[in-house]
Subunit: 285 residues, 2 copies
């Protein structure tokens, strides 16, 4: 049996799958998986190491850690899946990786609220509008926001907290406007104490993500979007460990000396403000 005959036998078997979409996905998977192995002439020892790596990756996963998503992120797979699923949304705000730190059920807060609640960090005022792709304001759109603290950790990475922090949901006003206060996000490494960290090391790659705010923006009749606002000038802006940066998602976090703040209060220390508008696509038919 030649190598190609073997591949053909596997393809013949997969071709019998009754679910036609599953069949097509598996046919392409087998074709590429076998193509990869033939192309590199994968050795038995490399195969064993791959089995060990995949096993360790699965076993590193628990309720708060998803090492396979991290693997997908660091190989650009998550961004590619995002890209192939948003091929039609021209004109809308671009999406990027969801990441593993979104938590359902963040508190619904009034516009202007502070999600940082006294956390250390540079106070930052975020505002903008949510519109459709034609620029028409969308009232009642929801922004689900989350981010790291000033040390680069999400609340779920600090189990001792026992509560949500630096998360909140906001609803746009009649003009599609939103505004909230927070602290400036910082760049941070993805977790490196698992198999993916060892892979990055062997790749000679750093594990850092440039500073960003996460949000899912959604509104009735429109396609929801999971995206980031990246901090312009971040040292990792051109080398995001998960390939999440798109130029349209980078914003100036303008720094101000102490004085009047955008929310009408007076700040006694330096602060940032940033304006970012979101454009949502209609739901695809």
């Amino acid at each position: 049996m030649t190598e190609q005959e073997l591949t053909d036998r596997v393809l013949d078997k997969v071709a019998g799958a009754p679910d036609l979409r599953f069949r097509d996905v598996m046919l392409a998977l087998v074709k590429h998986l076998h193509g990869f192995i033939r192309e590199v002439g994968l050795t038995q020892e490399e195969w064993r190491r791959a089995i060990d790596f995949l096993t360790a990756t699965g076993q590193k996963c628990d309720a708060k850690r998803q090492e396979f998503i991290l693997l997908s992120d660091t190989l650009g797979v998550s961004m590619l899946v995002d890209a192939v699923n948003h091929r039609l949304h021209q004109g809308a705000t671009e999406s990027t990786v969801l990441g593993p730190f979104h938590v359902a059920g963040a508190p619904m807060l009034p516009l202007g609220a502070d999600i940082a609640e006294g956390e250390p960090g540079v106070p930052t005022f975020v505002s903008g509008r949510v519109t459709d792709v034609g620029g028409k304001p969308i009232a009642g759109a929801e922004l689900d926001v989350w981010q790291t603290d000033a040390d680069g950790f999400y609340d779920v990475q600090r189990p001792s907290l026992g509560a949500m922090r630096l998360r909140g949901k906001f609803t746009t006003d009649a003009e599609g406007g939103y505004r909230f206060r927070t602290v400036k996000p910082v760049s941070y490494p993805i977790p490196t104490d698992g198999p993916v960290g060892r892979m990055l090391e062997k790749l000679g790659s750093h594990p850092y993500r440039p500073a960003h705010l996460h949000m899912i923006v959604s509104a009735e009749g429109h396609a929801p979007i999971a995206t980031h606002i990246f901090v312009a000038g971040d040292p990792y802006i051109d080398s995001d460990a998960v390939f999440g940066v798109k130029p349209s998602l980078i914003a100036d976090f303008t720094e101000h000396a102490p004085g009047p703040a955008p929310d009408g209060t007076r700040m006694d220390r330096p602060f940032c403000d940033i304006r970012f508008d979101f454009k949502l696509s209609p739901i695809q038919p």
Copy 2:
């Protein structure tokens, strides 16, 4: 950023890996992984299910169960890796999957010994010679043999046994000859209570392997070989769940009425005998 630009950015990063072999393997992996995703237009929901599947596969593994090897086996990957690593061994006995049930340290037994030790099943006498590819006998070659019991289970799948069973090592005599007694192996399903079982079900494929004896044959100065002897006429001989069958590895388990046996004893019930010769390659320079 277009889909191709994204892939190029990932390839650029991987191209910086200091280990050149690792670099080449990872470049091919990223190329095929991204190619697969673009080709099928993998949806976010399919991606999530893939993440869940891989995670569950890793978490199903323990000291006695290797679900990723099972996945590799059932997608023909193990056989393909075997094939690409034995491209040069023309004329030698063909190899096939090692499988997950080999255990180091099986007992060294005298030629002619019975590895079945009173197990139920059809008594079977196995014999043959180990030679080099030119047909010259190899004295002192080792056969490490293992197989299922008459119910289709390996000893390690019956934890209550607490001991090895249906395993043994034999050393060829001055003419390269070997012989041992056992029971006829039976076809059996690979474990289906994990993610791979669910995949096979969705593929509409059965999980059975045709009946076979496992062995690793090794001798000084020669390339060791992990292979099977398959039972001719098995109902699954053309549809092995792990694609392990090669025509050259199928042997007639000839059935005999009660009477004189190959080892000089007299059998009071029907028995099989089978002759199979192994040819080993010189070690590649």
